[in-house]
Symmetry: C2
Subunit: 323 residues, 2 copies
């Protein structure tokens, strides 16, 4: 009921929706409509009420509860099931548990605050309450495990598109899983999977986005390497429409991928990748290699050509671009 | 104490070990030694006792409890921690749980009976009580997920060696994970993993071996495609020494692999593989391909050359060899 009302008001945008129209649509009295509007106000919406015109939303709260997402969601599967948590240690852990209990593809876990978010290689990910997007998505592709890393690249492309659509900002991809704006980190993607030698059972993808962080929110040493969408845009960003746009683009590219393979995703990824063609430094666990990033393979492996012209396959590394 | 006693008797083989020597070694009275011998008898060992000579084992029970394995184990890590279950649904499920709780590399789960053993592609694996080996092994390699399927190939080689060492029987490998004797299935390997895009977190390898099954134990339609070591050897096989030999060979090849890479394992695998160089039929989920199996890639992918000379990468399939 509340969702139908919210959807009507949001769809109308700056236009008023009359109380009569609402009461007909949701089949309740005008007094009941008024009560629902009061509820909306309590949950943070600023609703203007003008006699003979009706109601309109003046300001949305930056909330990411299931109904905030679903009223603007344009997907068929992704985000249709949402597990929302006000605060949790890690959305990845929650999503993994749900997947093991049989949660379907497209089920997402969202948290308003992550107290010990997971990054790559056992690192942490900083996600302060209210200003981040901390989301984990369950995929169940019929894929050999060797191909699962392709999903990280696919999601990177989807998020670049979603950020562009909702904020107008351009972002770059740094292999394998970082999104940067002007060289500073804005998005991290962590892809975890359960698989046997024949097929992936489930992939849990964690997405962390710095949305409304102020400069002061970052520790001194982090400020040099990370930024937020709000800082870059110069105004606060609504998280719910961004999440919906990400899910829409993921569903779009994922369906394309399942039907036509990685060849449809790879050129899009390469178009947004900053490291390709440049001199890079690849820091691996026990080694550092210098050379030119030539491209990626169909399995998402980075190809680096060293100064002797020898080609190396980089499976896992931190990449720095030589200036 | 019981373990020291058992080890002394097993090491002595057909020779007698005097009660005095035993009482000195384990620091107890001759009467206590006699009590321990009685315990061994109760657990199924036939122990001969001759005055002035001492004790010797005439017949070992075919048991696979932790001490049965560990008295003959020659490894440093693999099998040093054993979780033994008289009966369980699937050793894979138990091992996965242990791995998630932090169990170390080399920890194994053994069951005397598996009531719903897991095979490849969601199939079952038949493992009747007492006559099978149902074992799951926890690995924690620092490997990119793309390379994890190599561990299936490594284990296949290790088991071929262990079977040869303990029974003298020759077995063949059918890509990716079956061991056959005279074309009939004797061993299945299921490799499951948890990983992120950079690295494997844990690999749980399930090994199912038909050891002492009689012909009648197999259903009519299974009898055509499966057999047991005892049928092929014409006599019962002790499971504990076979398990110890498998663990020894796995540790050996795994250390070689970690130090020098897959190039040390691949030629061994190819030497035992029956499909390579032959015309095969690869049944995939949505497709069947015919052609000649040319070899495997470094990621364990099977290369099939069709009649037009086109090379196909086979990630997951059932292979039949054209006769």
């Amino acid at each position: 009921m509340k969702e139908t009302l919210l959807k009507m008001l949001l769809t109308a945008g700056d236009d008023f929706v009359s109380g009569e129209k609402i009461s007909q649509a949701i089949g309740c009295s005008r007094t009941a409509v008024w009560k629902h509007i009061e509820e909306l106000r309590k949950s943070g919406y600023e609703v203007e009420a003008v006699q003979r015109k009706g109601y309109r939303i003046v300001k949305r709260p930056d909330q990411i509860k299931p109904h905030d997402i679903q009223v603007v969601l344009e997907t068929e599967r992704f985000g249709r099931e949402i597990t929302y948590l006000e605060s949790t240690a890690s959305t990845q852990t929650v999503a993994l548990k749900l997947a093991q209990e049989g949660a379907k593809e497209g089920h997402i876990v969202l948290a308003n605050e992550q107290t010990s978010g997971k990054g790559r290689m056992g690192r942490g990910w900083y996600s302060p309450p209210g200003s981040s997007i901390s989301m984990s998505i369950i995929f169940r592709p019929q894929l050999p495990p060797q191909k699962a890393p392709q999903l990280t690249l696919l999601t990177a492309v989807a998020i670049v598109r979603a950020i562009k659509e909702t904020t107008g900002l351009d972002s770059d991809i740094k292999w394998p899983n970082d999104l940067l704006i002007d060289g500073k980190k804005i998005v991290g993607i962590l892809t975890e999977m359960q698989a046997d030698q024949d097929s992936v059972h489930s992939v849990i993808q964690g997405i962390g986005i710095n949305v409304n962080h102020q400069e002061e929110a970052f520790a001194e040493e982090i400020r040099k390497i990370a930024t937020s969408l709000a800082i870059k845009k110069g105004e606060p960003i609504q998280r719910a429409p961004l999440i919906a746009a990400i899910l829409k683009n993921i569903e779009l590219f994922y369906d394309l991928y399942l039907q036509h393979g990685f060849s449809r995703i790879k050129p899009l990824w390469e178009a947004h990748a900053i490291s390709i063609g440049k001199r890079i430094r690849a820091r691996m666990l026990n080694d550092v290699k210098f050379g030119v990033a030539k491209g990626i393979t169909d399995d998402g492996v980075l190809l680096l050509e060293d100064d002797d012209g020898k080609l190396h396959s980089i499976y896992s590394a931190d990449i720095e671009i030589d200036q």
